[in-house]
Symmetry: C2
Subunit: 339 residues, 2 copies
DNA sequence: CTGTTAGCGCCTTCAT
DNA sequence: ATGAAGGCGCTAACAG
């Protein structure tokens, strides 16, 4: 079962290696019909398969890209990576998927391993603190695309949701449904989507003439959020609505409500960023801000492969690509029997 | 920014390539202290990074494995792949993730591309109809592990949920809760988990003395299931419980119930295979049979890397590894106000 | 202890 | 229209 090589094919077809190579690379132009046939047949009978490693070494191209994601367990990441994979497959590229777990050390390690593997480019969900690494990628002219998070002051194409805009729609919708006091829950404000959403929340509240109540806002580790929830969901505080900044932060909320009220109270609106699976089957169904994950993944892959095929970063007028969120209005945010 | 190579380092340190290579590969044993130092420094100042492609060509090993999954959008697949990735990363292996979409043509294509890329082994969610391909992998002594689905008569390590056992627990539980007539919904019985669950359903019903009602069973395309649901949820038929064979088949059920009854009727039990996210927050929370996805992924990776490190398939007494499901009993299957 | 040499499998001028 | 030769970057005997 030893591997059959170009040489074997050449021998079998009684031609030279280079001729077979020509054939493989479609340089038929001046090739004799019978030679072509003989090679074809030899390849078939020997079950020859080119060795992509050897080819890569010579051509300095692996047709493989590296994707370093925050956490593949998040639904958005999954969808994005699926879209990336689909697009790349269509273009003849392979994808090596890595999980950085929001650990910049791990991220760095991955980038290095992938460089060693000579990937042709990177799609990265950047962690907060690895700027030097990114900069060096840029210096070495590695094609890179950032997803979901912005890293300021680097000319690297970046795709994110237009968080402030989406937040504004969310607030407007909540206001239109008669919600005045709105609680906000988020994980610590470490990465750009979180800060943008939070900032957007504050400014949009102001813009809509709603008063911001500091004691209705939580931006810390979710595992410690119970006392916050207990506080705001006690008589005297009870907000009209609670806005969750992503699908993870929705969990403690639902959990608390379920345990305490055996369901969602009639007079509380819920709205969360990120589409949650089965959102429509909840009682009440949950209003969400959905990211166009497929679009974003596809676009990221497209931008990257463009860069690769054009041999390096081409100048863009704008390195930022904002994507529109979609407000999926469901029961949880509508005026129900509340009035 | 041209790549710096072993040669460059050797020149800079005034030694030969091989000495540097020795150094890199930890063959210090007989190396002079100063030489070592010089090399170290040269590597640092030149920012040398070994080219894994070149190394692979020489060593015929890529420390990369290929994973071909049915569909990365499924939660179980995601978790499994995450576990695989974690394990491999710890062992210094890389993972190329591919989506076959249950399309055996695509699967074949992927296997071929990955072979060309000289991956060291495969983890595959086998589609129904690619036996020749698997057989040839085996012939070529490629390390392979199958996940989730059985392919009969091939000596390939296979990991799946013990479907019949889990089904039996589910039925027993439903019976204990006073359910007599149980409806069953599944996608077409094309792959082993589906057939095993279905067969398990039938035999377990019998074993528990419950009568199987053919008109309460659906095993066809989910998109056409509405009329079935309409039929069984009409007066005269209404089953005590409905059992969904996976997370996908739960969707039309919830959808129908939501639209028709604005929720889950008090007198209907629901139980589904596959853990669904937020299952506990449903009203009522949903009873599920959970697969130990992380365990399975980890074990799959472990078995594969074992094979790789031991240079080929080692003989196993049993190529089948069954995993125990976990019945997450929640409100949807408990006797509630029904009696 | 370190350098020389010979490939790994393929691609690519350059001759013929 | 085809072949010969050199090299991609690294490793692995085998000398010295």
């Amino acid at each position: 079962m030893k591997k059959v090589t170009l040489q074997d094919v050449a021998d079998h077809a009684a031609v030279s290696k280079s001729t077979v190579s020509q054939y493989l690379n479609g340089r038929y132009t001046y090739m004799g019909e019978q030679t072509k046939r003989r090679i074809e047949e030899s390849i078939r009978t020997l079950q020859y398969q080119p060795n992509a490693i050897a080819r890569s070494l010579k051509q300095k191209k692996t047709t493989t890209i590296g994707v370093i994601m925050a956490n593949i367990l998040h639904r958005v990441s999954t969808q994005t990576s699926r879209a990336i994979e689909d697009f790349c497959h269509a273009k003849g590229y392979h994808v090596i998927l890595c999980n950085a777990d929001d650990d910049s050390e791990k991220e760095k390690q991955y980038i290095e391993m992938l460089k060693a593997k000579q990937v042709d480019g990177f799609i990265i969900y950047p962690t907060a603190s690895n700027e030097e690494m990114y900069k060096s990628l840029l210096d070495e002219k590695y094609p890179v695309v950032f997803l979901d998070r912005k890293v300021k002051a680097l000319s690297i194409p970046t795709l994110t949701l237009r968080n402030e805009e989406a937040m504004d729609w969310a607030i407007e919708h909540l206001k239109n449904q008669g919600n005045e006091s709105i609680a906000y829950i988020s994980s610590p404000l470490t990465i750009s989507p979180r800060t943008e959403r939070y900032d957007g929340f504050l400014s949009s509240m102001k813009r809509h003439g709603l008063t911001i109540q500091q004691d209705l806002i939580y931006t810390d580790k979710l595992s410690d959020s119970t006392s916050f929830l207990k506080k705001i969901f006690s008589p005297g505080h009870f907000p009209d609505a609670i806005l969750s900044s992503n699908d993870r932060s929705l969990v403690p909320v639902l959990d608390y409500l379920k345990k305490t009220f055996k369901g969602v109270p009639e007079h509380l609106s819920i709205l969360t960023f990120d589409e949650v699976e089965y959102a429509e089957f909840f009682q009440p169904s949950i209003t969400t801000v959905e990211q166009p994950a497929f679009e974003m993944g596809t676009k990221a892959a497209e931008l990257l492969i463009d860069q690769i095929d054009h041999d390096g970063l081409q100048h863009l007028d704008d390195y930022y690509f904002g994507f529109q969120g979609k407000l999926n209005i469901r029961e949880s945010s509508l005026k129900r029997g509340r009035d």
